[in-house]
């Protein structure tokens, strides 16, 4: 656990007045607030640091304690005493939103919320000076799945903050798609509802197919004779191998579409995309003398 210089985080001097701290905080909060930095995890992290620094420096009692014991927080009776006093005050994990009035400082903690270990050990968790009830912070999480597991609806148990949550992942979930689990975020305060849990899915392709939307694409090798004379081949689909008829005189790179043999459509049971097959004609190698002479004969016809 490292000491955090909250003055440095807000870019203010140790002698900064309350007004200077407020100004510095607002300036930085406007720059790094999650609402103005969508999908920017770096900004979210920075915002949490700024928020934590403000939580301490804008509260005269906390600031006094921080100034007095800050650097020596790990040692000394005084620190322990301060900690005991703190435990009597509010204690909750994930920061809060204060909607009190238009002049109130912004003290919300967003996107996975929480304070640093340093803060928690010194002040015993984020605390509220406001009486307003507020919704708990939303949590962000991610889950990596192989593509094959998106072909059917899957049930999984995930662990968030030590709690096991059983989730159903509908077939057809896309890479980068997010699902919301209402009420599984940080708990609310003063009777406020819990936040939500957002899970972003990362899909890793572990198949020979390429995927675009719900359609799958596959390059299938066929030999010269099947391409020229026609025939049947076995083709892989997500539900097993199927027999496909190749027309005579099929050209290299010919594409065919197998309707409904693609990936499942998200939350539309029984609906599937298509499977596109591109034929790649493989020419024979290591020809025998007889084969060579026959090809020569063919070329002269």
């Amino acid at each position: 656990m490292e000491f955090i210089d909250y003055y440095k985080v807000l870019g203010v001097d140790k002698t900064a007045k309350e007004e200077d701290i407020k100004k510095a905080y607002r300036k930085l909060a406007r720059k790094f607030h999650p609402d103005v930095n969508p999908n920017n995890t770096e900004a979210h992290k920075r915002f949490q640091e700024i928020n934590e620094a403000n939580e301490v420096l804008s509260d005269p009692e906390k600031r006094k304690k921080y100034d007095k014991y800050g650097k020596d927080w790990q040692h000394g009776e005084a620190y322990e005493q301060a900690r005991k006093q703190q435990q009597q005050s509010y204690n909750f994990g994930g920061g809060y939103r204060n909607y009190g009035d238009s002049t109130a400082d912004f003290e919300g903690s967003f996107g996975g919320g929480g304070f640093s270990d340093f803060f928690n050990s010194m002040f015993g968790g984020g605390s509220s000076r406001a009486k307003a009830r507020f919704r708990g912070s939303d949590l962000q999480s991610s889950l990596t799945l192989p593509l094959t597991e998106t072909f059917t609806t899957e049930k999984k148990t995930i662990t968030i903050n030590g709690k096991h949550i059983r989730i159903t992942i509908p077939a057809g979930i896309e890479d980068g798609q997010q699902i919301k689990l209402t009420g599984h975020g940080e708990p609310g305060n003063n009777g406020g509802p819990a936040g939500d849990l957002y899970i972003t899915f990362h899909i890793v392709n572990n198949t020979e197919f390429k995927k675009m939307g719900n359609d799958l694409f596959l390059t299938q090798e066929i030999d010269l004779y099947t391409a020229v004379l026609g025939g049947t081949i076995m083709v892989n689909t997500i539900s097993g191998k199927i027999k496909v008829t190749v027309k005579p005189e099929t050209q290299n790179n010919t594409k065919i579409r197998l309707k409904g043999k693609g990936a499942p459509v998200y939350k539309k049971e029984g609906q599937f995309g298509d499977l596109y097959i591109t034929y790649s004609v493989k020419l024979p190698q290591n020809l025998t003398e007889k084969q060579k002479s026959l090809f020569t004969e063919l070329s002269k016809l």
Partner: protein, 99 residues
């Protein structure tokens, strides 16, 4: 037609302990659409995230109404561009040759 889920502006504002006047300001500037029914105003359920965002930006970050009028469309545009970027990145990935 399916019934629309509505949240009373008064209930929302009292929950968040804010003055409901601010919502009429938002509406007068077309930042949010409120539904009027029997002399009461409601926020459509699907606009709840927007309502919360407006409050955060306006009351917590201190962005004034004129600022919101500028910022909100820019944020929308940013989000749409990020979506497009992600879509294009997927397409590039699709056409990458696999050896």
């Amino acid at each position: 037609m399916a019934a629309q889920k509505l949240i009373a502006v008064k209930a929302f504002c009292s929950y968040h302990e804010i003055n409901d006047e601010v919502f009429f300001e938002f509406e007068s500037r077309n930042l949010i659409h409120l539904v009027k029914e029997k002399r009461s105003y409601y926020i459509p359920y699907n606009q709840l995230p927007l309502a919360e965002k407006l409050i955060r930006l306006h009351l917590q970050l201190g962005i004034n109404l004129e600022g919101l009028e500028v910022i909100l469309p820019l944020l929308e545009r940013l989000q749409s561009q990020e979506d497009t970027l992600q879509k294009l990145a997927k397409q590039v990935n699709f056409y990458k040759p696999s050896f």
